[in-house]
Subunit: 261 residues, 2 copies
């Protein structure tokens, strides 16, 4: 496979960088082609703003969605954004690796999505009507590709469990896994979490490296999270509500959108 | 009260900017002092990196938490970060206003938290031991202050309802409301949502302006979300799990952390 790793950590000597190198080595040993977008090292521009749309009339009000559609379809997106879009189109699988900062991804990676996910490329794709609300949530430009988060956290695994004060990790990551990756069509693999990162010694690093290698070996075969697709009957459109009776007993909120059968 | 509005939208002619002006006018009419941090207009540096810590030895590995603690306690944080910390300390209430991009806040605001929330200022506060895991989740530097999100979304309100494919809005915002605002001690008011923003006409804008004015008038008195506090017996420490039997029937996940009595 072609594998893209989008990496968001500022320090080349960090645990995150060491784990990234473990992943790259394993993927290459298994015969995959690997590209890495190292956002800090690239000096990635984190913020979407008027400079992203050089053809936008300076007198025109900036609406990011409309401007990104104009630049995408007009071929005037900036070179850095086009390069990342090309990597996404090239990839069969995309790994997003980052430290969990304030229960989400770092700003530099959030801005990667805001800039690379142009309207027409990652949203606003396909027919939009009262009966079909676009090719999204399981369909779209990324359909057939896999995505997976690799996330480090300082806290203990217990701190992200079902009854933990931080909230369950899979719920904390739902806006990313479902809302940002499944949305443009990715099949999303369960996130790989590395907890208790502070002061990790060499013995624990070897354990974590082995766990990550195992996930990389199974990148092409692990079952994705069984998110429901939007346009195959489970949802009322245009209200976008899950039809009554489809859920497992007791499921509410985010859990409604994962098939249990 | 002293009210800080942290505003994250790139366009001065936007709906968001118009709503911000409505909020500022109402708050001032009600006798409050108001400051606005307009992140795009300020050219806010979105990304936390080595430049944030000018006293860090260039040969030293960058660990953001440790570096921010060193700079905070050593008084060497950059002037832009110090200025935002001073505004937080000045404020009795803080409003964060932004468009919902990929089900979270814009990168420029995420980076505001990453840079302004230094270790020692917004986390790592108070005694950390096996029986008391710091002053957080209801205690900390922001204790006694109020916070509130004002969020615009292109989608319909139905699209963020209990059974909606995007997920319930309050769950999508939990990593911000609970994990980023309640964490350093804020009392968090229910978020104010403005939906269906695309192509809003003047009549609908007046309706939305009136709704926002009402929220501003009640900023000092609205009841906050009843998040459980960490250190008052509801949680086992250090595992940070909610004790059995405290929840309302059927509550799971994020809902466990809101008192229903």
């Amino acid at each position: 496979m072609n594998v893209l790793i989008v990496f968001a950590h500022p320090e080349p000597q960090s645990l995150n960088a060491a784990l990234r190198d473990v992943a790259v080595a394993q993927l290459r040993a298994d015969g995959h082609e690997v590209q890495v977008s190292d956002l800090y090292a690239q000096g990635w521009k984190a913020v979407v703003d008027r400079d992203d749309f050089p053809k936008l009339d300076p007198r025109e009000r900036l609406t990011v969605a409309a401007a990104s559609a104009g630049a995408y379809f007009g071929g005037t997106l900036t070179a850095d954004v086009k390069a990342e879009q090309d990597k996404l189109l090239w990839a069969d699988a995309v790994i997003f690796q980052f430290p969990l900062w304030w229960f989400s991804m770092p700003a530099i990676l959030k801005g990667w999505f805001e800039r690379v996910y142009a309207l027409g490329f990652a949203y606003g794709v396909g027919e939009h009507s009262e009966t079909r609300w676009g090719d999204r949530y399981g369909e779209g430009t990324m359909a057939g590709k896999r995505a997976m988060l690799v996330v480090t956290a300082g806290g203990w695994p217990e701190h992200y469990g079902p009854r933990a004060i931080n909230g369950p990790i899979d719920d904390l990551l739902f806006p990313i896994n479902h809302g940002t990756l499944h949305y443009p069509g990715f099949d999303v693999l369960p996130a790989h979490l590395v907890y208790s990162t502070t002061g990790m010694d060499a013995a624990r690093f070897e354990v974590e490296a082995a766990r990550l290698r195992a996930r990389m070996r199974n990148l092409a075969t692990d079952a994705p999270i069984a998110y429901r697709k939007q346009n195959f009957g489970d949802y009322r459109i245009p209200e976008m509500q899950l039809r009554e009776g489809l859920e497992a007993p007791g499921d509410v909120g985010f859990a409604l959108h994962i098939r249990k059968d």
